[in-house]
Protein backbone atom coordinates (compact mmCIF):
# COMPACT_ATOMS: atom_id res chain seq x y z
CA UNK A 1 0.00 0.00 0.00
CA UNK A 2 1.33 3.44 -0.93
CA UNK A 3 0.50 5.28 2.26
CA UNK A 4 1.07 8.76 0.87
CA UNK A 5 -1.75 8.40 -1.61
CA UNK A 6 -3.81 5.98 0.47
CA UNK A 7 -7.53 6.35 0.98
CA UNK A 8 -9.17 6.85 4.37
CA UNK A 9 -9.92 3.15 4.56
CA UNK A 10 -6.28 2.20 4.01
CA UNK A 11 -5.09 4.80 6.53
CA UNK A 12 -7.64 3.39 8.97
CA UNK A 13 -6.32 -0.13 8.38
CA UNK A 14 -2.73 1.03 8.81
CA UNK A 15 -3.63 2.87 12.01
CA UNK A 16 -5.41 -0.15 13.46
CA UNK A 17 -2.49 -2.40 12.56
CA UNK A 18 0.02 0.01 14.11
CA UNK A 19 -1.96 0.35 17.34
CA UNK A 20 -2.65 -3.36 17.64
CA UNK A 21 1.02 -4.24 16.99
CA UNK A 22 2.25 -1.87 19.68
CA UNK A 23 -0.44 -3.04 22.10
CA UNK A 24 0.65 -6.62 21.45
CA UNK A 25 4.19 -5.82 22.58
CA UNK A 26 2.87 -5.32 26.12
CA UNK A 27 0.15 -7.95 26.47
CA UNK A 28 2.15 -11.19 25.97
CA UNK A 29 4.74 -10.18 28.56
CA UNK A 30 2.00 -9.34 31.09
CA UNK A 31 0.39 -12.77 30.74
CA UNK A 32 3.62 -14.74 30.31
CA UNK A 33 5.44 -13.12 33.24
CA UNK A 34 2.22 -13.40 35.26
CA UNK A 35 2.39 -17.17 35.00
CA UNK A 36 6.12 -17.41 35.70
CA UNK A 37 6.05 -15.22 38.79
CA UNK A 38 2.99 -17.16 40.08
CA UNK A 39 4.91 -20.45 39.70
CA UNK A 40 7.94 -18.96 41.48
CA UNK A 41 5.85 -17.66 44.35
CA UNK A 42 4.14 -21.06 44.66
CA UNK A 43 7.60 -22.61 45.06
CA UNK A 44 8.42 -20.02 47.72
CA UNK A 45 5.23 -20.76 49.67
CA UNK A 46 5.80 -24.52 49.35
CA UNK A 47 9.51 -24.62 50.21
CA UNK A 48 9.96 -21.48 52.29
CA UNK A 49 13.13 -20.78 50.28
CA UNK A 50 13.73 -17.02 50.34
CA UNK A 51 15.55 -17.22 47.01
CA UNK A 52 12.27 -18.02 45.30
CA UNK A 53 10.72 -15.03 47.06
CA UNK A 54 13.50 -12.75 45.79
CA UNK A 55 13.14 -14.16 42.28
CA UNK A 56 9.36 -13.61 42.40
CA UNK A 57 9.81 -10.03 43.59
CA UNK A 58 12.29 -9.24 40.83
CA UNK A 59 10.07 -10.53 38.04
CA UNK A 60 7.12 -8.74 39.63
CA UNK A 61 9.03 -5.47 39.29
CA UNK A 62 9.56 -6.14 35.58
CA UNK A 63 5.89 -7.12 35.31
CA UNK A 64 4.95 -3.86 37.04
CA UNK A 65 6.93 -1.76 34.56
CA UNK A 66 5.33 -3.52 31.61
CA UNK A 67 1.86 -3.32 33.19
CA UNK A 68 2.09 0.39 33.99
CA UNK A 69 3.37 1.39 30.55
CA UNK A 70 1.11 -0.95 28.61
CA UNK A 71 -2.12 -0.48 30.54
CA UNK A 72 -5.06 0.82 28.50
CA UNK A 73 -3.11 0.94 25.22
CA UNK A 74 -5.81 -1.35 23.83
CA UNK A 75 -8.53 1.23 24.57
CA UNK A 76 -7.23 3.26 21.63
CA UNK A 77 -8.43 0.44 19.38
CA UNK A 78 -11.92 1.02 20.76
CA UNK A 79 -11.64 4.76 20.04
CA UNK A 80 -10.90 3.86 16.43
CA UNK A 81 -14.04 1.73 16.12
CA UNK A 82 -16.27 4.75 16.81
CA UNK A 83 -14.37 7.14 14.55
CA UNK A 84 -12.83 5.21 11.67
CA UNK A 85 -15.11 2.17 11.63
CA UNK A 86 -18.53 3.57 12.57
CA UNK A 87 -20.47 1.46 10.04
CA UNK A 88 -18.80 -1.64 11.43
CA UNK A 89 -19.45 -0.57 15.04
CA UNK A 90 -23.14 -0.10 14.35
CA UNK A 91 -23.47 -3.20 12.18
CA UNK A 92 -21.96 -5.61 14.76
CA UNK A 93 -24.27 -4.29 17.45
CA UNK A 94 -24.13 -5.96 20.84
CA UNK A 95 -22.14 -8.96 19.62
CA UNK A 96 -18.89 -7.08 19.72
CA UNK A 97 -19.94 -4.87 22.61
CA UNK A 98 -20.88 -7.65 25.03
CA UNK A 99 -17.50 -9.43 25.20
CA UNK A 100 -15.67 -6.10 25.42
CA UNK A 101 -17.95 -4.92 28.22
CA UNK A 102 -17.40 -8.14 30.17
CA UNK A 103 -13.68 -7.74 29.60
CA UNK A 104 -13.76 -4.19 30.94
CA UNK A 105 -15.94 -4.78 33.97
CA UNK A 106 -14.95 -8.25 35.16
CA UNK A 107 -11.50 -9.13 33.99
CA UNK A 108 -9.86 -5.71 34.03
CA UNK A 109 -11.06 -4.77 37.51
CA UNK A 110 -10.15 -8.21 38.83
CA UNK A 111 -6.70 -7.81 37.40
CA UNK A 112 -6.29 -4.27 38.75
CA UNK A 113 -7.50 -5.18 42.26
CA UNK A 114 -5.14 -8.08 42.69
CA UNK A 115 -2.20 -6.25 41.11
CA UNK A 116 -2.32 -3.75 43.98
CA UNK A 117 -2.43 -6.52 46.61
CA UNK A 118 0.44 -8.25 44.82
CA UNK A 119 2.65 -5.15 44.96
CA UNK A 120 1.61 -3.65 48.28
CA UNK A 121 0.80 -6.85 50.13
CA UNK A 122 4.23 -8.40 50.78
CA UNK A 123 4.53 -8.90 54.57
CA UNK A 124 1.13 -7.23 55.00
CA UNK A 125 -1.20 -10.05 53.98
CA UNK A 126 -0.69 -13.73 54.66
CA UNK A 127 1.57 -15.76 52.34
CA UNK A 128 -1.39 -17.68 50.97
CA UNK A 129 -3.44 -14.55 50.38
CA UNK A 130 -0.53 -12.99 48.53
CA UNK A 131 0.01 -16.11 46.46
CA UNK A 132 -3.70 -16.19 45.59
CA UNK A 133 -3.48 -12.56 44.49
CA UNK A 134 -0.52 -13.28 42.23
CA UNK A 135 -2.34 -16.19 40.60
CA UNK A 136 -5.49 -14.08 40.23
CA UNK A 137 -3.51 -11.37 38.45
CA UNK A 138 -2.51 -14.01 35.91
CA UNK A 139 -6.07 -15.40 35.71
CA UNK A 140 -7.50 -11.88 35.36
CA UNK A 141 -5.11 -11.00 32.54
CA UNK A 142 -5.94 -14.28 30.78
CA UNK A 143 -9.70 -13.71 31.19
CA UNK A 144 -9.26 -10.24 29.83
CA UNK A 145 -7.57 -11.72 26.76
CA UNK A 146 -10.31 -14.35 26.46
CA UNK A 147 -13.12 -11.83 25.95
CA UNK A 148 -11.11 -9.78 23.46
CA UNK A 149 -10.36 -12.96 21.52
CA UNK A 150 -14.03 -14.00 21.60
CA UNK A 151 -14.83 -10.71 19.85
CA UNK A 152 -12.03 -11.26 17.33
CA UNK A 153 -13.04 -14.87 16.71
CA UNK A 154 -16.61 -13.80 15.96
CA UNK A 155 -15.29 -11.57 13.19
CA UNK A 156 -13.49 -14.55 11.67
CA UNK A 157 -16.42 -16.93 12.19
CA UNK A 158 -19.69 -15.03 12.70
CA UNK A 159 -22.06 -17.22 14.67
CA UNK A 160 -24.89 -16.91 17.22
CA UNK A 161 -26.43 -13.80 15.65
CA UNK A 162 -29.34 -12.74 13.49
CA UNK A 163 -29.38 -9.68 11.25
CA UNK A 164 -32.18 -7.21 11.95
CA UNK A 165 -33.00 -5.17 8.81
CA UNK A 166 -34.96 -2.66 10.87
CA UNK A 167 -32.03 -1.67 13.08
CA UNK A 168 -29.33 -2.63 10.50
CA UNK A 169 -27.56 -4.54 13.25
CA UNK A 170 -26.53 -8.09 13.92
CA UNK A 171 -28.23 -9.09 17.14
CA UNK A 172 -26.95 -11.80 19.44
CA UNK A 173 -29.36 -14.73 19.70
CA UNK A 174 -27.02 -17.22 21.34
CA UNK A 175 -24.44 -15.82 23.76
CA UNK A 176 -22.87 -19.24 24.40
CA UNK A 177 -22.39 -19.89 20.68
CA UNK A 178 -20.46 -16.60 20.48
CA UNK A 179 -18.48 -17.12 23.70
CA UNK A 180 -17.54 -20.73 23.11
CA UNK A 181 -17.37 -21.03 19.35
CA UNK A 182 -14.67 -23.53 18.35
CA UNK A 183 -12.73 -20.72 16.70
CA UNK A 184 -12.87 -18.63 19.87
CA UNK A 185 -11.59 -21.22 22.31
CA UNK A 186 -8.88 -22.44 19.94
CA UNK A 187 -7.81 -18.86 19.30
CA UNK A 188 -7.76 -18.21 23.05
CA UNK A 189 -5.56 -21.24 23.73
CA UNK A 190 -3.19 -20.54 20.85
CA UNK A 191 -2.83 -16.87 21.80
CA UNK A 192 -2.43 -17.61 25.50
CA UNK A 193 0.33 -20.12 24.85
CA UNK A 194 2.04 -17.52 22.64
CA UNK A 195 2.00 -15.19 25.65
CA UNK A 196 3.56 -17.86 27.85
CA UNK A 197 6.17 -18.35 25.12
CA UNK A 198 7.11 -14.66 25.07
CA UNK A 199 7.25 -14.53 28.88
CA UNK A 200 9.46 -17.63 28.97
CA UNK A 201 11.81 -16.34 26.27
CA UNK A 202 12.03 -13.03 28.14
CA UNK A 203 12.94 -14.64 31.48
CA UNK A 204 15.49 -16.94 29.84
CA UNK A 205 17.04 -14.07 27.87
CA UNK A 206 17.46 -11.77 30.88
CA UNK A 207 18.80 -14.68 32.93
CA UNK A 208 21.24 -15.43 30.10
CA UNK A 209 22.44 -11.83 30.29
CA UNK A 210 23.09 -12.16 34.05
CA UNK A 211 25.09 -15.33 33.43
CA UNK A 212 27.11 -13.60 30.71
CA UNK A 213 27.85 -10.80 33.18
CA UNK A 214 28.57 -13.38 35.91
CA UNK A 215 26.03 -11.72 38.20
CA UNK A 216 23.19 -13.25 40.24
CA UNK A 217 24.14 -16.71 39.00
CA UNK A 218 21.91 -18.71 41.30
CA UNK A 219 18.91 -16.48 40.60
CA UNK A 220 19.56 -16.69 36.85
CA UNK A 221 19.76 -20.49 36.80
CA UNK A 222 16.60 -20.81 38.92
CA UNK A 223 14.76 -18.41 36.62
CA UNK A 224 16.05 -20.20 33.54
CA UNK A 225 14.74 -23.53 34.80
CA UNK A 226 11.22 -22.18 35.28
CA UNK A 227 11.40 -20.17 32.06
CA UNK A 228 12.59 -23.11 30.01
CA UNK A 229 9.93 -25.47 31.37
CA UNK A 230 7.18 -22.94 30.70
CA UNK A 231 8.71 -22.21 27.29
CA UNK A 232 8.85 -25.85 26.22
CA UNK A 233 5.25 -26.48 27.32
CA UNK A 234 4.13 -23.27 25.59
CA UNK A 235 5.78 -24.01 22.24
CA UNK A 236 4.64 -27.65 22.17
CA UNK A 237 1.10 -26.50 22.95
CA UNK A 238 1.42 -23.80 20.28
CA UNK A 239 2.07 -26.57 17.77
CA UNK A 240 -0.94 -28.53 19.04
CA UNK A 241 -3.31 -25.54 19.03
CA UNK A 242 -1.79 -24.37 15.74
CA UNK A 243 -3.04 -27.63 14.27
CA UNK A 244 -6.50 -26.73 15.62
CA UNK A 245 -6.22 -23.28 14.04
CA UNK A 246 -5.30 -24.77 10.66
CA UNK A 247 -8.34 -27.07 10.84
CA UNK A 248 -10.73 -24.21 11.63
CA UNK A 249 -9.19 -21.94 9.00
CA UNK A 250 -9.59 -24.71 6.39
CA UNK A 251 -13.28 -25.08 7.27
CA UNK A 252 -14.25 -21.46 7.76
CA UNK A 253 -11.69 -19.33 5.90
CA UNK A 254 -10.33 -21.42 3.01
CA UNK A 255 -8.94 -18.35 1.24
CA UNK A 256 -6.77 -17.61 4.28
CA UNK A 257 -5.41 -21.17 4.24
CA UNK A 258 -4.67 -20.92 0.52
CA UNK A 259 -2.85 -17.61 1.12
CA UNK A 260 -0.85 -19.09 4.03
CA UNK A 261 0.36 -21.85 1.71
CA UNK A 262 0.55 -19.86 -1.55
CA UNK A 263 -1.76 -22.53 -2.97
CA UNK A 264 -3.28 -21.37 -6.26
CA UNK A 265 -4.42 -24.67 -7.76
CA UNK A 266 -6.24 -26.94 -5.34
CA UNK A 267 -5.54 -30.65 -5.16
CA UNK A 268 -6.31 -33.87 -3.38
CA UNK A 269 -3.67 -35.04 -0.94
CA UNK A 270 -2.09 -31.57 -0.82
CA UNK A 271 1.33 -31.22 0.76
CA UNK A 272 2.38 -28.64 3.33
CA UNK A 273 5.14 -26.28 2.21
CA UNK A 274 7.95 -26.61 4.76
CA UNK A 275 10.24 -24.10 3.07
CA UNK A 276 9.55 -22.15 -0.09
CA UNK A 277 9.95 -18.96 -2.03
CA UNK A 278 7.08 -17.40 -3.95
CA UNK A 279 7.55 -16.33 -7.53
CA UNK A 280 7.07 -12.53 -7.73
CA UNK A 281 6.35 -12.90 -11.47
CA UNK A 282 2.92 -14.24 -10.58
CA UNK A 283 0.88 -11.05 -10.52
CA UNK A 284 -2.70 -12.27 -10.82
CA UNK A 285 -4.58 -15.16 -9.32
CA UNK A 286 -5.15 -16.81 -12.70
CA UNK A 287 -1.70 -16.31 -14.25
CA UNK A 288 -0.12 -19.38 -15.76
CA UNK A 289 3.16 -18.59 -13.97
CA UNK A 290 4.47 -21.16 -11.47
CA UNK A 291 3.70 -19.62 -8.04
CA UNK A 292 6.95 -20.87 -6.46
CA UNK A 293 10.60 -20.32 -7.29
CA UNK A 294 11.25 -23.36 -5.13
CA UNK A 295 9.51 -25.29 -2.38
CA UNK A 296 10.12 -28.28 -0.14
CA UNK A 297 6.84 -29.96 0.62
CA UNK A 298 5.70 -32.45 3.26
CA UNK A 299 3.43 -34.76 1.25
CA UNK A 300 -0.29 -34.96 2.12
CA UNK A 301 0.15 -32.95 5.30
CA UNK A 302 -1.99 -29.95 4.31
CA UNK A 303 -4.95 -32.23 3.54
CA UNK A 304 -4.43 -33.97 6.86
CA UNK A 305 -4.16 -30.72 8.87
CA UNK A 306 -7.06 -29.01 7.14
CA UNK A 307 -9.51 -31.87 6.73
CA UNK A 308 -8.21 -34.75 8.88
CA UNK A 309 -7.90 -36.85 5.72
CA UNK A 310 -4.62 -37.34 3.83
CA UNK A 311 -6.45 -37.48 0.49
CA UNK A 312 -8.89 -34.60 1.05
CA UNK A 313 -9.20 -31.92 -1.59
CA UNK A 314 -7.74 -28.59 -0.49
CA UNK A 315 -9.08 -25.72 -2.62
CA UNK A 316 -6.57 -23.23 -3.99
CA UNK A 317 -7.14 -19.55 -4.69
CA UNK A 318 -8.34 -20.26 -8.26
CA UNK A 319 -10.83 -22.88 -7.01
CA UNK A 320 -12.24 -20.54 -4.37
CA UNK A 321 -12.66 -17.75 -6.94
CA UNK A 322 -14.13 -20.00 -9.65
CA UNK A 323 -16.21 -22.21 -7.30
CA UNK A 324 -17.58 -25.61 -8.26
CA UNK A 325 -15.73 -27.79 -5.76
CA UNK A 326 -17.45 -29.76 -3.00
CA UNK A 327 -17.48 -28.09 0.40
CA UNK A 328 -17.06 -30.05 3.67
CA UNK A 329 -20.86 -29.94 4.20
CA UNK A 330 -21.42 -31.65 0.84
CA UNK A 331 -22.70 -28.58 -1.03
CA UNK A 332 -20.98 -27.08 -4.05
CA UNK A 333 -19.02 -23.87 -3.61
CA UNK A 334 -20.20 -20.78 -5.42
CA UNK A 335 -17.96 -18.73 -7.68
CA UNK A 336 -16.99 -15.14 -6.92
CA UNK A 337 -19.45 -13.88 -9.53
CA UNK A 338 -22.32 -15.92 -8.05
CA UNK A 339 -21.54 -14.71 -4.55
CA UNK A 340 -21.27 -11.15 -5.78
CA UNK A 341 -24.69 -11.36 -7.43
CA UNK A 342 -26.19 -12.75 -4.24
CA UNK A 343 -24.45 -10.07 -2.19
CA UNK A 344 -25.91 -7.35 -4.42
CA UNK A 345 -29.36 -8.93 -4.05
CA UNK A 346 -29.02 -8.81 -0.26
CA UNK A 347 -27.87 -5.18 -0.27
CA UNK A 348 -30.73 -4.16 -2.57
CA UNK A 349 -33.20 -6.10 -0.42
CA UNK A 350 -32.02 -4.21 2.68
CA UNK A 351 -32.70 -0.89 0.96
CA UNK A 352 -36.04 -2.05 -0.50
CA UNK A 353 -37.15 -3.38 2.86
CA UNK A 354 -36.92 0.07 4.41
CA UNK A 355 -38.71 1.79 1.52
CA UNK A 356 -41.54 -0.76 1.71
CA UNK A 357 -41.76 -0.29 5.48
CA UNK A 358 -41.95 3.49 5.18
CA UNK A 359 -44.68 3.22 2.56
CA UNK A 360 -46.65 0.79 4.70
CA UNK A 361 -46.27 -2.13 2.26
CA UNK A 362 -45.72 -4.76 4.94
CA UNK A 363 -46.12 -7.76 2.62
CA UNK A 364 -43.44 -6.37 0.28
CA UNK A 365 -41.19 -5.64 3.25
CA UNK A 366 -41.59 -9.25 4.38
CA UNK A 367 -40.60 -10.47 0.90
CA UNK A 368 -37.53 -8.24 0.84
CA UNK A 369 -36.59 -9.55 4.27
CA UNK A 370 -36.80 -13.13 2.95
CA UNK A 371 -34.54 -12.24 0.00
CA UNK A 372 -32.11 -10.56 2.38
CA UNK A 373 -31.95 -13.58 4.68
CA UNK A 374 -31.53 -16.02 1.78
CA UNK A 375 -28.53 -14.07 0.52
CA UNK A 376 -27.14 -12.66 3.74
CA UNK A 377 -24.24 -15.13 3.90
CA UNK A 378 -22.86 -13.40 0.76
CA UNK A 379 -23.75 -9.81 1.74
CA UNK A 380 -20.16 -8.55 1.69
CA UNK A 381 -19.36 -9.80 -1.81
CA UNK A 382 -21.63 -7.09 -3.21
CA UNK A 383 -18.94 -4.55 -2.32
CA UNK A 384 -16.10 -6.32 -4.12
CA UNK A 385 -15.38 -5.17 -7.64
CA UNK A 386 -13.15 -7.90 -9.03
CA UNK A 387 -11.97 -11.37 -8.09
CA UNK A 388 -8.66 -9.93 -6.91
CA UNK A 389 -10.53 -8.01 -4.20
CA UNK A 390 -11.34 -11.21 -2.33
CA UNK A 391 -7.68 -12.33 -2.18
CA UNK A 392 -5.47 -11.21 0.72
CA UNK A 393 -1.83 -10.19 0.34
CA UNK A 394 -0.31 -13.58 -0.52
CA UNK A 395 3.44 -12.94 0.06
CA UNK A 396 2.86 -11.23 3.43
CA UNK A 397 0.55 -14.01 4.64
CA UNK A 398 2.73 -16.82 3.25
CA UNK A 399 6.07 -15.59 4.62
CA UNK A 400 4.57 -14.53 7.98
CA UNK A 401 3.06 -17.98 8.45
CA UNK A 402 6.18 -19.91 7.48
CA UNK A 403 8.53 -17.72 9.46
CA UNK A 404 6.27 -18.04 12.52
CA UNK A 405 6.26 -21.84 12.22
CA UNK A 406 10.03 -21.98 11.73
CA UNK A 407 10.60 -19.83 14.82
CA UNK A 408 8.22 -22.06 16.78
CA UNK A 409 10.15 -25.18 15.77
CA UNK A 410 13.43 -23.45 16.65
CA UNK A 411 12.15 -22.64 20.14
CA UNK A 412 11.05 -26.22 20.84
CA UNK A 413 14.61 -27.33 20.10
CA UNK A 414 16.08 -24.36 21.98
CA UNK A 415 14.16 -25.03 25.19
CA UNK A 416 14.95 -28.75 25.04
CA UNK A 417 18.66 -27.91 24.78
CA UNK A 418 18.31 -25.39 27.59
CA UNK A 419 16.68 -27.93 29.90
CA UNK A 420 19.34 -30.51 29.05
CA UNK A 421 22.13 -28.10 29.98
CA UNK A 422 20.30 -26.80 33.04
CA UNK A 423 19.65 -30.25 34.50
CA UNK A 424 22.41 -32.45 33.06
CA UNK A 425 25.28 -30.13 32.25
CA UNK A 426 26.77 -26.91 33.54
CA UNK A 427 24.74 -24.00 32.19
CA UNK A 428 26.87 -21.41 33.96
CA UNK A 429 29.99 -22.22 31.93
CA UNK A 430 28.26 -22.44 28.53
CA UNK A 431 28.65 -18.91 27.29
CA UNK A 432 27.55 -19.71 23.74
CA UNK A 433 24.19 -20.92 25.02
CA UNK A 434 23.86 -17.84 27.19
CA UNK A 435 24.37 -15.70 24.07
CA UNK A 436 21.81 -17.79 22.19
CA UNK A 437 19.35 -17.36 25.09
CA UNK A 438 19.81 -13.59 25.05
CA UNK A 439 19.54 -13.12 21.29
CA UNK A 440 16.57 -15.44 20.89
CA UNK A 441 14.28 -12.94 22.61
CA UNK A 442 13.54 -10.82 19.49
CA UNK A 443 12.54 -14.01 17.68
CA UNK A 444 9.86 -14.74 20.27
CA UNK A 445 8.38 -11.26 19.88
CA UNK A 446 8.63 -11.54 16.10
CA UNK A 447 6.77 -14.88 16.05
CA UNK A 448 4.08 -13.43 18.31
CA UNK A 449 3.53 -10.48 15.96
CA UNK A 450 3.65 -12.70 12.87
CA UNK A 451 0.84 -14.81 14.28
CA UNK A 452 -1.41 -11.76 14.25
CA UNK A 453 -0.24 -10.80 10.76
CA UNK A 454 -1.32 -14.25 9.52
CA UNK A 455 -4.67 -14.03 11.33
CA UNK A 456 -5.52 -10.48 10.29
CA UNK A 457 -3.88 -9.97 6.90
CA UNK A 458 -4.95 -13.47 5.88
CA UNK A 459 -8.63 -12.65 6.40
CA UNK A 460 -8.64 -9.51 4.29
CA UNK A 461 -10.74 -7.93 2.84
CA UNK A 462 -13.16 -8.90 5.60
CA UNK A 463 -13.88 -7.17 8.88
CA UNK A 464 -16.65 -9.78 9.30
CA UNK A 465 -15.98 -12.88 7.25
CA UNK A 466 -18.02 -12.82 4.00
CA UNK A 467 -20.42 -10.22 5.39
CA UNK A 468 -18.65 -6.88 5.70
CA UNK A 469 -15.46 -5.91 3.84
CA UNK A 470 -13.27 -3.05 5.05
CA UNK A 471 -14.51 -0.57 2.46
CA UNK A 472 -18.11 -0.96 3.66
CA UNK A 473 -17.12 -1.01 7.34
CA UNK A 474 -15.24 2.29 7.35
CA UNK A 475 -16.61 5.74 8.16
CA UNK A 476 -17.05 8.56 5.67
CA UNK A 477 -14.12 10.59 7.01
CA UNK A 478 -11.16 12.25 5.34
CA UNK A 479 -7.89 10.43 4.80
CA UNK A 480 -6.04 13.46 6.16
CA UNK A 481 -7.73 13.16 9.56
CA UNK A 482 -6.79 9.50 9.89
CA UNK A 483 -3.25 10.20 8.66
CA UNK A 484 -2.85 12.84 11.38
CA UNK A 485 -3.95 10.49 14.15
CA UNK A 486 -1.78 7.74 12.66
CA UNK A 487 1.27 9.98 13.15
CA UNK A 488 0.12 10.95 16.66
CA UNK A 489 -0.14 7.31 17.62
CA UNK A 490 3.20 6.45 16.10
CA UNK A 491 4.79 9.18 18.25
CA UNK A 492 2.86 8.31 21.43
CA UNK A 493 3.48 4.59 21.25
CA UNK A 494 7.12 4.96 20.27
CA UNK A 495 7.53 7.25 23.29
CA UNK A 496 5.89 4.65 25.53
CA UNK A 497 8.07 1.91 24.12
CA UNK A 498 11.23 3.96 24.71
CA UNK A 499 10.05 4.66 28.29
CA UNK A 500 9.36 0.96 28.85
CA UNK A 501 12.71 -0.21 27.53
CA UNK A 502 14.64 2.52 29.37
CA UNK A 503 13.03 1.87 32.75
CA UNK A 504 13.21 -1.88 32.29
CA UNK A 505 16.89 -1.89 31.32
CA UNK A 506 17.66 0.29 34.35
CA UNK A 507 15.84 -2.14 36.63
CA UNK A 508 17.48 -5.19 35.06
CA UNK A 509 20.91 -3.62 35.49
CA UNK A 510 20.13 -3.09 39.19
CA UNK A 511 19.34 -6.78 39.47
CA UNK A 512 17.19 -8.84 41.80
CA UNK A 513 18.78 -7.80 45.05
CA UNK A 514 18.37 -4.07 44.55
CA UNK A 515 15.64 -2.11 46.31
CA UNK A 516 14.01 -1.01 43.08
CA UNK A 517 10.28 -0.92 43.30
CA UNK A 518 9.51 -0.98 46.98
CA UNK A 519 5.85 -0.86 46.15
Amino acid sequence: MDLLSASAVNWSRAQFALTASYHWLFVPLTIGLGLIMAIMESLYVKTGDEKWKNATKFWQKIFGINFAIGIATGIILEFQFGTNWSNYSWFVGDIFGAPLAIEGILAFFMEATFVSIMFFGWNRVSKKMHLASTWLVFVGASLSAFWILVANAWMQYPIGMEFNPESVRNEMVDFWAVAFSPVAYNKFLHTTFSCWAVGAAFVVAISGWYLLKKRHTDFAVKSMKIGSLVGLVAFVMLAVTGDGSAYHVAQKQPMKLAAMEGLYEGKEGAGLVAVGMLNPARKNYNDEVDPYIFKIELPKLLSLLGYRDINAFVPGIVDIVDGGYTLPDGTTSLSFQERKERGLKAIQALADYQVAKEEGRDADAANHEIILRENYAHFGYGYLETEEDMIPNIPLTFYSFHLMVMIGMYFILFFMVMLYFLYKKDMVSNRWLQYVALWSLPLAYLASQLGWVVAEVGRQPWTIQDILPVQAASSAISAQNVATTFILFAVLFTGLLIAEVTIMVKQIKKGPESEGLKA
Binding site: F79, T484, T485, K518
Partner: protein
Protein backbone atom coordinates in the same frame (compact mmCIF):
# COMPACT_ATOMS: atom_id res chain seq x y z
CA UNK B 1 -14.92 -8.85 71.98
CA UNK B 2 -11.85 -10.63 70.68
CA UNK B 3 -13.51 -11.09 67.29
CA UNK B 4 -14.30 -7.37 67.10
CA UNK B 5 -10.67 -6.49 67.66
CA UNK B 6 -9.62 -8.90 64.92
CA UNK B 7 -11.98 -7.38 62.41
CA UNK B 8 -10.97 -3.85 63.35
CA UNK B 9 -7.34 -4.81 63.03
CA UNK B 10 -7.90 -6.39 59.61
CA UNK B 11 -9.67 -3.27 58.37
CA UNK B 12 -6.80 -1.19 59.66
CA UNK B 13 -4.30 -3.47 57.93
CA UNK B 14 -6.06 -3.28 54.57
CA UNK B 15 -6.10 0.50 54.77
CA UNK B 16 -2.49 0.77 55.85
CA UNK B 17 -1.43 -1.69 53.18
CA UNK B 18 -2.59 0.70 50.46
CA UNK B 19 -1.63 3.84 52.37
CA UNK B 20 1.90 2.78 53.15
CA UNK B 21 2.22 1.24 49.69
CA UNK B 22 1.45 4.53 48.03
CA UNK B 23 3.40 6.71 50.44
CA UNK B 24 6.59 4.65 50.45
CA UNK B 25 6.95 4.11 46.71
CA UNK B 26 10.40 4.08 45.19
CA UNK B 27 11.37 6.72 42.63
CA UNK B 28 10.89 4.16 39.85
CA UNK B 29 7.35 3.41 40.99
CA UNK B 30 6.60 7.12 41.08
CA UNK B 31 7.97 7.48 37.55
CA UNK B 32 5.73 4.65 36.39
CA UNK B 33 2.67 6.25 37.99
CA UNK B 34 3.52 9.54 36.27
CA UNK B 35 3.97 7.83 32.88
CA UNK B 36 0.69 5.93 33.30
CA UNK B 37 -1.27 9.02 34.39
CA UNK B 38 0.17 11.26 31.64
CA UNK B 39 -0.65 8.56 29.09
CA UNK B 40 -4.24 8.23 30.33
CA UNK B 41 -4.70 12.03 30.35
CA UNK B 42 -3.43 12.25 26.75
CA UNK B 43 -5.69 9.39 25.71
CA UNK B 44 -8.92 10.42 27.43
CA UNK B 45 -8.67 14.21 27.55
CA UNK B 46 -6.87 14.99 24.27
CA UNK B 47 -7.07 12.10 21.80
CA UNK B 48 -10.61 10.94 22.53
CA UNK B 49 -12.45 14.32 22.51
CA UNK B 50 -10.38 16.12 19.86
CA UNK B 51 -9.31 13.38 17.47
CA UNK B 52 -11.66 10.46 18.02
CA UNK B 53 -15.27 11.61 18.10
CA UNK B 54 -17.80 8.83 17.78
CA UNK B 55 -19.12 9.61 14.29
CA UNK B 56 -22.64 8.28 14.88
CA UNK B 57 -23.02 9.66 18.42
CA UNK B 58 -21.87 13.10 17.30
CA UNK B 59 -24.07 13.42 14.23
CA UNK B 60 -27.27 11.59 15.13
CA UNK B 61 -29.59 11.87 18.11
CA UNK B 62 -31.38 8.56 18.08
CA UNK B 63 -30.95 4.95 17.01
CA UNK B 64 -33.36 5.25 14.09
CA UNK B 65 -31.28 8.04 12.53
CA UNK B 66 -28.06 6.12 13.12
CA UNK B 67 -29.55 3.01 11.50
CA UNK B 68 -30.73 5.09 8.53
CA UNK B 69 -27.27 6.59 8.08
CA UNK B 70 -25.61 3.16 8.11
CA UNK B 71 -28.27 1.75 5.77
CA UNK B 72 -27.61 4.60 3.31
CA UNK B 73 -23.84 4.14 3.60
CA UNK B 74 -24.12 0.41 3.00
CA UNK B 75 -26.23 1.01 -0.09
CA UNK B 76 -24.12 3.82 -1.53
CA UNK B 77 -20.84 2.01 -1.02
CA UNK B 78 -21.74 -0.65 -3.56
CA UNK B 79 -19.33 -0.35 -6.47
CA UNK B 80 -20.44 2.42 -8.86
CA UNK B 81 -20.16 0.07 -11.82
CA UNK B 82 -23.07 -1.88 -10.40
Amino acid sequence: MEKEIDIAEKKYNWFTMFWSGFTSMSSMSKTLWIVAIVKLVIMFFILKPFFFPNVLETNYDNDADKAEHVRTELYEKVQPSE
